[in-house]
Amino acid sequence: MESDYAIEAEGLRRTYRTRTGWLRPRRETVEAVRGVDLTVRRGELFGLLGPNGAGKTTTIKMLNTLLIPTAGTARIRGFDVVEQTREVRRRIGYVFGGDRGLYDRLSALDNLRYFAELYGVPPRDQKRRIAELLELVGLTGRERERVEGYSRGMRQRLHIARGLLHAPEVLFLDEPSIGVDPVAARELRRTVAGLAANGATVVLTTHYMAEADELCDRIAVISGGEIQALGTPAELRSRADGRRVVEVEAYGVPDTAISALRGLPGVRETSVEDRGALQLLTVQSDAHVDVQGDVLRELAGIRLGRVDSREPTLEDAYVAIVGAA
């Protein structure tokens, strides 16, 4: 029976067991997902954020039937993802980021024709549907070119068209904008927003906070295989209320200096992002404590660029949530 919820997951767990070596085999067990509970309403644009290895893709693969949960249950529109795979697969689309996942030797048109057959699009609807989708993702006029000559942005758009062929009720977008240039990423966001506006339920995983902030109705932050926070972007941002952020551009900061920053009075989180030779240090502190002077003292002797003090963003809230996990 179809449910009012697009997605329901209860106690979802997934354990991977690996074996390496022949003579002395070493077995390892990794708990990728450790009890995820979530519900996604129909028509909702739901974000799943988390660092690499947090369990995002494993969660999506359980929801889209590619993996069987070790424990727990999940339903898509009321259909069980383990027992009713055919019903689930009729209702879902899956798009992931990256260069692979398309038949390079075929044209975009033939890729879509083939997947239209695989996904059971009625023959009388195929031509119209494919033309509509090519128009939607901006590939009209390029559809007869072999995919091997496509840019990453064009491939991403073709991935989206493929995921939408059978007009799925639930669309999983797994880091769709990874490696895509800013202009193409903006077009992708526009396309995704349009899908949700037209009633599709979208589950989006991304590393780009601005993307999640702009698009998502609700966001779950997953880390260590568990959901650490769940709410609207505004609710998540409020997790960082009462904080102040100091950003410092620096070159060649040693680990000892970063450890020292973490130990400063009033400092709540410290993160480092490498941008080529440049390192961007982000130091979150309690709002009533001015740590900027202390931070600069700890970095004395290190070549610095821009220094800035600002209000926290969703990204800062995310860092705080993941850091506390």
Binding site: R14, Y16, R17, K61, N64, T65, L66, L67, I68, T85, R86, R89, R90, I92, Y94, F96, G98, R100, G101, L102, Y103, D104, R105, L106, D110, R113, Y114, F115, E117, L118, Y119, G120, P122, P123, R162
Partner: protein
């Protein structure tokens, strides 16, 4: 109707997407020139050693020529999905796996039939083999049966690619086994009993037997039992491939043994 469409149109698109030897240079070199030289090699060797007459080697190698495209093609039909990272998207299809993958074998079988016919024609033109015109429809049937059986054999090997990464090793070994055990180039009555038994379970063994009877002008009635056995072997591999695909897909969901995406 939609099932036939998936097998026909889907199979043809998958052939173009996944078969590595579709470029004119690769196709001509690997599938036409290579088997022709192999045919000449064995025919002249047979003359030197007086093992058998030209007909034995020409017909045998024509049947064998189809196996390269069909066995490796059948394997590519599954294993190349990994190469392109498309396997996950195929496995997310709500359509029957059996129909999807059986349909993929058909273009390879058709291709195998063409290659076998070409090799046979080379035997006629270069070595002067005479085949009765009345034998041609039966010969086409025997070559088609051998190609189809090889395609399903290759598909079963390709299904192993869902479980084991280095499936091409199995395909290469299988190609050598077909050369040795099926009687296409080595008369089977000179082989040890166990090899004869294994050969009976391989594709093209019975197709080669049927084709030789037909080329000798013995008629379809004489070749029918061998033809029937070839079709039975092909059907066996078709069922085996479907079972392996089902089992390995289920296992991949349980054990995460596939890098599906």
């Amino acid at each position: 109707m939609r099932t036939l469409r998936l097998m026909g149109i889907g199979g043809a698109l998958a052939y173009r997407a996944l078969f590595n030897w579709t470029t004119p240079a690769m196709y001509t070199g690997t599938l036409l020139a290579g088997p022709t030289f192999q045919l000449l090699f064995f025919a002249y060797l047979g003359r030197q050693l007086q093992v058998a007459d030209d007909r034995f080697f020409i017909v045998g190698n024509a049947v064998l020529a189809a196996s390269t495209a069909c066995v490796f093609g059948g394997t590519m039909a599954v294993a190349n999905e990994r190469r392109y990272g498309t396997l996950g998207h195929v496995l997310l299809s709500p359509r029957s796996r059996t129909v999807v993958f059986w349909g993929r074998v058909l273009p390879y079988a058709g291709n195998g039939l063409l290659i076998a016919a070409f090799t046979l024609l080379m035997g006629v033109l270069l070595l002067g083999l005479r085949i009765p015109v009345t034998a041609l429809p039966g010969l086409a049937l025997a070559l088609a049966a051998g190609s189809l059986a090889c395609g399903f054999f290759g598909l079963a090997l390709g299904a192993l690619g869902l479980r084991f990464r280095d499936v091409w090793v199995v395909s290469n070994v299988s190609a050598a086994l077909l050369l040795l055990l099926t009687g296409v180039n080595v008369p089977r009555d000179g082989l040890p009993d166990w090899m004869i038994t294994v050969g009976q379970l391989l594709p093209i063994t019975h197709a080669a037997e049927a084709a030789r009877l037909l080329a000798a002008g013995r008629g379809l009635e004489a070749a029918a039992p061998a033809l029937g056995r070839e079709l039975l072997v092909g059907a066996g591999y078709a069922v085996l491939a479907a079972l392996l695909l089902k089992v390995f897909e289920a296992e991949s969901r349980r054990r995460a043994s596939l890098e599906t995406l």
